[in-house]
């Protein structure tokens, strides 16, 4: 029962891994090109374990941003995980502390998405009373562990590629391209587009500010612009 629930989670995660593996490799390549040593780059995939923020990390190292700015940037990128935590909390409420600590570590975008779909399908009222007896937490565990393993292996593969591929191939451009692939399909409404354009333009204008604080300013302005736009169109 435990194991079949675990496998169920792994299986649900598989289609997403097709996208995660190249992403992990790109992170590995970019980390090498930013001059981060291999052991640190590999360790980062376990210590931070959040794709986009790790790529932002390498970019800021490349631009020799101060440590504090890097930490703030990573945390800002990962703030959305607070929403996943809040969503999962009621389901995981009665698990032991050990399980909570473990599952929180594995709560990435991709593990959250498939598990939330699974839990929602069964329904909170239905699921909650027998969550533990039915080993439902093994579903999230399976999805999370499958993602974790893929992330570590693809990082290692990318670190290897990064040392083999010459820098004249301009593979650093995959950073912008990956982010384009993540952002553009999500620009569903005008507020999203305004967020993207204003954050991007402010970032360009503020590039030469000291300590790379331009990034933080750009994000704040982008978020505020998007929210104002949403509010404006809601009132019409």
């Amino acid at each position: 029962m435990r194991f079949s629930r675990f496998l169920q989670g792994v299986k649900a995660e598989l289609p997403l891994l097709v996208g995660v593996a190249p992403f992990g490799m790109i992170y590995g390549v970019l980390a090498i090109q930013a001059g981060i040593i291999k052991i640190q780059a590999q360790a980062m995939s376990s210590i931070i374990f959040a794709g986009s923020s790790q790529i932002v990390f390498t970019q800021l190292v490349l631009e020799s941003a101060p440590g504090l700015v890097i930490v703030v940037a990573v945390l800002v990128v990962n703030l959305r995980h607070a929403l996943y935590s809040a969503w999962m909390a009621p389901y995981l409420q009665r698990l032991s502390r050990g399980w909570k600590l473990l599952l929180a570590y594995l709560l990435t975008d991709e593990a959250y998405v498939v598990s939330a779909i699974h839990y929602e399908k069964l329904g909170y009222a239905e699921l909650h009373p027998t969550f533990e007896q039915e080993f439902q937490h093994y579903y999230l565990f399976g999805a999370g562990l499958a993602l974790w393993t893929t992330w570590q292996v693809s990082t290692a593969f990318g670190l290897f590629l990064g040392t083999v591929i010459p820098s004249s191939w301009s593979l650093d451009f995959t950073l912008a391209l990956t982010f384009i692939a993540l952002v553009v399909p999500n620009l569903r409404d005008r507020a999203g587009v305004i967020t993207a354009v204003s954050a991007g333009v402010v970032a360009v204008l503020a590039t030469n500010l000291p300590y790379k604080v331009g990034l933080v300013i750009a994000v704040v302005i982008g978020v505020v612009a998007g929210m104002l736009m949403e509010k404006g169109s809601a009132e019409k």
Partner: protein
């Protein structure tokens, strides 16, 4: 700051964000304003990284149709918009960048 220390601080912070509600309480709704702000953060951060990558070279604005990264980036944006496919977008952008740089080196 030592790179290990930066990494560990960022990692611990990320973990605490993921742990927050799970460890503290069961039911707790975020204020709607905060929820909305969180929704826009990923788009804002990623765009704030993309645009300078396309429009700048050596910290200078490089607004020209001869800017290979700008051209390849626009093509990638169109690809992402039409296909919503990560791998295709990256392939299209890289191939365009290589082709444009090669063409320019031949023409000069």
């Amino acid at each position: 700051m030592n790179l290990w220390l930066v990494m560990i601080l960022a990692g611990v912070g990320t973990y605490l964000i993921r742990l927050s509600s799970i460890l503290l309480v069961g039911h707790k709704e975020f204020p709607p304003t905060l929820k909305k702000a969180l929704k826009y953060i990923p788009t804002a951060v990623l765009s704030a990284i993309i645009l300078p990558e396309l429009l700048m070279k050596d910290s200078q604005l490089y607004l020209s149709i001869w800017n290979p990264r700008l051209l390849a980036g626009v093509l990638a944006i169109l690809t992402a918009w039409r296909t919503r496919n990560v791998v295709l977008t990256i392939l299209a952008g890289m191939l365009a960048l290589w082709a444009i740089t090669w063409l320019m080196s031949v023409m000069h």
